[in-house]
């Protein structure tokens, strides 16, 4: 194991905990994603250890650790914590220097962030207290339809005539989906309807935050092609998604750790 300094970002979200390790040049050494579970302190520790193992370094070798996400105060190893708004903006602008806005849809909240020409946060909007139309909503719907979450977005692309889901409240939407199933609607059309429902809810945030293109989509839901396509249709502009949208917040946190030195 080398003694070169390492910089870590740990993003403890409501659904998953993510860690990204950087070397002193800002190059990514390793990234990890695990389920957050019920013990956030433990999840933070485990995702950091997992990333360290992957990189072949000791977790104690971190020169600075920035914690972010809903469980940021539970990260024992943190040097300091920074909100996920700042971290997602930082990560997105490092991956896409031309970015002028970020849409992050995570496990329990969604955010629309407007960036200035230098990539700094200009404005942001977050969803209200409830988790309607977020990753948690997709999980519940996938379980109801007996579809793997990873297949969800792809299936939406096969829809011929998406149904209308009028609510992103998980409880209301669930009963709407059951009504569509009872009418023997095509599953792909229902899935596309759910993706459209999420997109139109997030579009409300995006309009309030007056997002300008190019827009980057981050967070776990950005892996869902159906939601991304529906957002693009509403925004009227293409959206860019990173290869690993889930770890953008942790990556941004790691960059802030590096810059804080």
């Amino acid at each position: 194991m080398s003694d070169a300094p390492i910089y870590a970002g740990v993003d403890v979200g409501s659904a998953t905990a993510k860690a990204v390790l950087l070397d002193a040049t800002g190059a990514v050494l390793a990234a990890s994603v695990i389920a957050s579970g019920g013990n956030l302190t433990d999840a933070a520790q485990r995702c950091l250890s997992l990333a360290s193992d992957k990189a072949g370094v000791s977790p104690d070798a971190c020169a600075a650790v920035i914690a972010t996400g809903y469980g940021r105060e539970r990260v024992a190893a943190r040097s300091r914590s920074v909100t996920e708004i700042t971290c997602h903006a930082r990560g997105a602008r490092a991956l896409f220097p031309e970015a002028r806005s970020v849409v992050d849809i995570g496990g329990q909240d969604s955010k629309a962030i407007a960036l200035d020409e230098r990539g700094r946060v200009l404005r942001f909007e977050m969803n209200d207290k409830c988790a309607a139309g977020t990753g948690r909503f997709l999980e519940v719907m996938a379980r109801l339809l007996e579809i793997e979450l990873d297949e969800f977005g792809g299936r939406a692309m096969h829809a011929a005539a998406p149904v209308t889901i009028s609510s992103t409240c998980t409880v209301f939407a669930e009963s709407e989906v059951i009504s569509h199933l009872a009418r023997n609607q095509n599953i792909d059309d229902i899935i596309a309807g759910l993706c459209n429902a999420i997109a139109s809810r997030v579009y409300g945030l995006a309009s309030r935050a007056r997002l300008a293109p190019p827009t980057i989509m981050t967070g776990g839901v950005a892996r869902n092609e159906g939601v991304v396509k529906a957002m693009e249709a509403l925004l009227g502009a293409p959206i860019r998604t990173p290869d690993d949208p889930q770890t953008v917040g942790a990556y941004g946190a790691a960059l802030l750790a590096l810059e804080s030195e």
Binding site: Y70, V82, T83, E84, I85, T86, V121, F124, M126
Partner: protein
Amino acid sequence: MDMTALMAPFEKVASDYYGYARDAAAAGRKVAGCMCSYAPQELLYAAGYLPIRILGREGDTRRADELLQAFSCSFARSVLDSALEQEWPFLDLVMFSHTCDTMQNVADLWRAHTPDTDTLIASMPTRTDGEASLRYCMAELERLKKKLEAKTGPISDEKLTEAIRLYGDHRKTMQDLYALRAAKPGLLSGAQMMTISVAAFLMDRAEHLPLARAVLSALNTAAEPGGVSWPRVFVAGSMCRHVGFIELMEAAGCAVVGDDLCVGSRSFAHGDPDGDTPIEALARAYLERIPCPAFHRDGRHPGHALVEAARRDKADGVIFLLTNFCDPMAFDYVPVKKALDDAGIPALSLSVEQHREPPEQLRTRVEAFVEMLRESEGA
């Protein structure tokens, strides 16, 4: 300078919502609860009452929920629930003021459900400028004075002048404290300032005044601790008595340097105008004050006024505390937000429930806003 000792009396009163008034009543004082800063406390004071504000409290509102529609605000719910739960047995009188339809209905419900409490409604003119408003306001104050005299005996001009002077002196001291807080937030935090304001609403002003002056004289000569420069935030919005919101902001790393809040500088910002009679002087004071969102003055744009106040206090950003279903504030919010956008002043709005301390989710928003202000400052 021992800030802990100077703040202790305010904290004691502010943390025990009913305590001060209950003790005063037990000691033989007549206590009048006022629902709004437009209830003319000077009249009540001159009539021998201890006027205090009914500010809403924590806890659920299930009795009020039975009577109020879903679109009534949490302040209305909270104050009505406290009456229905018989939490004010020591009040001799409650004075409402006509601010919005919801509060008018709360007044009716309060009267219907607690028939033993005396109630009065102050109908101050909604338009606060012009001669007609002055004549109307004076007539309304005369009417209220007669109603009070029927209960307590004549209110002499001397008594009324004395009460007007006390309230004027108190406002002046509060204005000086607010100015000092804006100039040296490192000496007096936003949370401390709000605690002093909450206590003012729950105490005899004659007792609050020397305590507030003691803080002022101790801090006037003190040097501000140097070091960290924090983003400066101005707070505006609906009725909110929770110091916890200000604490949450300051814990996120900003200094709350100014406010336009009912439980804050707005209720103390007006002068002490003259009049041919004490009633005229009092009417002028209420008409010339900064109007709350339920009142209007011709030519005064609430947005431009807020931009001016934020600039006066050198604020880097504005945080709104908005109570859901507070229609007067919601109507103002649109032009106010636009004026801030046009002036390039960043703003964040938080939704406030009267009966609960700030929920944890707000912390992320406030911290992100502070990070944003800090990043743009660093440019």
